[in-house]
Amino acid sequence: MNPKILIIDYGMGNLRSVYNALKFLGAEPLVSDKSQDLHQADAYILPGVGAFGEAMKNLKQINIIDQLSQNVLQDKKTFLGICLGMQLIVEDSEEQGFHKGLGWIKGHVVKFEPKDHLRFPHVGWNNIDVKKTEPLYRDIQSGTHYYFDHNFHVVCDDENISATCKYGNEIVASIEKDNIFATQFHPEKSQVNGLKILRNFLNYVNTHQSAC
């Protein structure tokens, strides 16, 4: 059976871009914020584009945080966070004040250290250095370009980093911990190489459909 992929609709984020990309790959994703859909889904995608504080406020408003955390952390349903969706899964962020995140992975969201010749936000195509090939980066080499667009970045333990990229300092490009995946860049907007990542994600979900 086709796994049920749920794109979490929290009133912001470029849901449609993610939806289009998954649709292009033949998946039938559902866009919803209902807790019933959350329960039935096999995997979740939390898309990007937005400010951290506002995103947490919206997630609280639709009242899904507890259930989502339980489904991901205890029931081990597969999760993919994109851009802001990656930042939300760490402990806290200093974007526009101080905000608590979902706290699934140890780490913080911090502002880039300013450097004379660098412009911010970090926007454009940058090449990544892959640290963990399987499963997300199968058939993808280090040096491949992905589209980044962000003003803040995640700092976390090395063991959870699956790829890095360089902009001034080395920053975290993607995270992987058990069933939790997250990318700072936008795979849905990185042409063929981005679609490959989403394909790898779908394949992973296919082979790891939760038992419940």
């Binding site: 912001m12 984020g13 470029n14 849901l15 449609r16 871009s17 289009n20 990309a21 292009f24 790959l25 584009v49 937005g50 400010a51 506002e54 802001l84 974007e95 526009q96 412009r119 911010f120 936000p121 970090h122 926007v123 454009g124 195509w125 940058n126 090449n127 370009h145 589209y147 980044f148 667009d149 962000h150 003003n151 360089k166 902009y167 936008h186 849905e188 907007k189 990185s190 042409q191 063929v192 190489n193 981005g194 679609l195 490959k196 394909r199």
Partner: protein, 290 residues
């Protein structure tokens, strides 16, 4: 390392893509979603879709068009034209755009930039500035398709936009629009010197050399063109090859490339010498299945 972005601007007039000259003359090109699909296949780095008459005709963004266009491209899509409120921004993003470009409203009510940035993040808000030189030789910002003077300089507008939280500036020269004379480098330098956010240069490209000048002399983070990409064969790929020959870092992502080619004075590809052509063999690239 971050690559220099090659951006295509698609100007939409009455629902179809047009070429524009000095914001006055328009030449029809074709359907929006097809233009997006082609640019995507040619390896463009980003697409900016601007509904150029929306504000003038007091229309809201055309969400159907945006959603059709967004299905055809897996590169970042910025949409502008007629965005006046936060709910406009929200609708545009939910229809498939990744960023919004605000022009008139960013100058008349810069608080919209801030409100948008609080909800959608700074990186989502691009301010586009159209400018031309006035009689005194000073740059002056215009809106409403170059009809209405805002009484401000592009540097002022860029700085205010940055202060209010804009993530990028799209800088367009009305004088150079459609001229094929190259970017107004002086203008680009003024703005890139004044702000710390990325600046996208636009207006006047007629030769791949102009992209090079925008990056090296103008210090633009990204270089954009509209007309230039439409009727030139493999325009995006040849542009990138040209830039790469000159040592500019670009993202190359297509099977087709023109690495060992020379370019004519006109910027078009030079024919290879007969000996090289005889050596040529077809290479077979199986279609990649994702």
């Amino acid at each position: 390392m971050l690559k220099n972005r090659i951006v295509a601007t698609l100007l939409v007039h009455d629902g179809i893509v047009v070429q524009s000259v000095n914001f006055k003359k328009y030449l029809p090109i074709g359907q929006v979603d097809i233009a997006v699909e082609f640019l995507n296949d040619w390896g463009i780095d980003e697409i900016v879709l601007l509904d150029i008459k929306a504000t003038l005709q007091n229309r809201s963004p055309n969400l159907t068009m945006i959603s059709q266009a967004s299905k055809k491209g897996f590169v970042p899509l910025t949409v502008g034209g007629g965005i006046k409120t936060v709910s406009d921004i929200k609708n545009v993003i939910q229809s498939g755009a990744d960023k919004v470009s605000i022009n008139y409203a960013a100058i008349t009510q810069p608080s919209l930039i801030e409100e948008g940035a609080i909800i959608f993040g700074n990186q989502c808000i691009m301010v586009s500035i159209d400018t031309r030189k006035n009689q005194d030789g000073q740059y002056e910002v215009f809106t409403q398709s170059g009809r209405l003077s805002m009484g401000k300089s592009p540097v002022e507008v860029a700085k205010i936009s940055e202060d209010y939280g804009a993530g990028e500036i799209l800088l367009n020269s009305i004088d150079r629009d459609g001229s094929k004379q190259g970017y107004d480098i002086e203008l680009i330098q003024q703005v890139t010197d004044a702000v710390k956010i990325p600046v996208i240069a636009c207006g006047g490209v007629g030769h791949p050399r102009h992209f090079l000048e925008g990056i090296t002399l103008g210090k633009a983070s990204a270089v954009a063109a509209g007309n230039y990409f439409h009727f030139t064969e493999h325009s995006v790929i040849t542009t990138k090859s040209y830039l790469e020959n000159d040592g500019i870092e670009v993202r190359l992502n297509t099977y087709a490339h023109y690495k060992d080619f020379n370019f004519l004075e006109t910027g078009r590809l030079a024919r290879k010498i007969d000996e090289d052509l005889e050596e040529l063999r077809f290479t077979y690239h199986p279609k990649e299945i994702i």
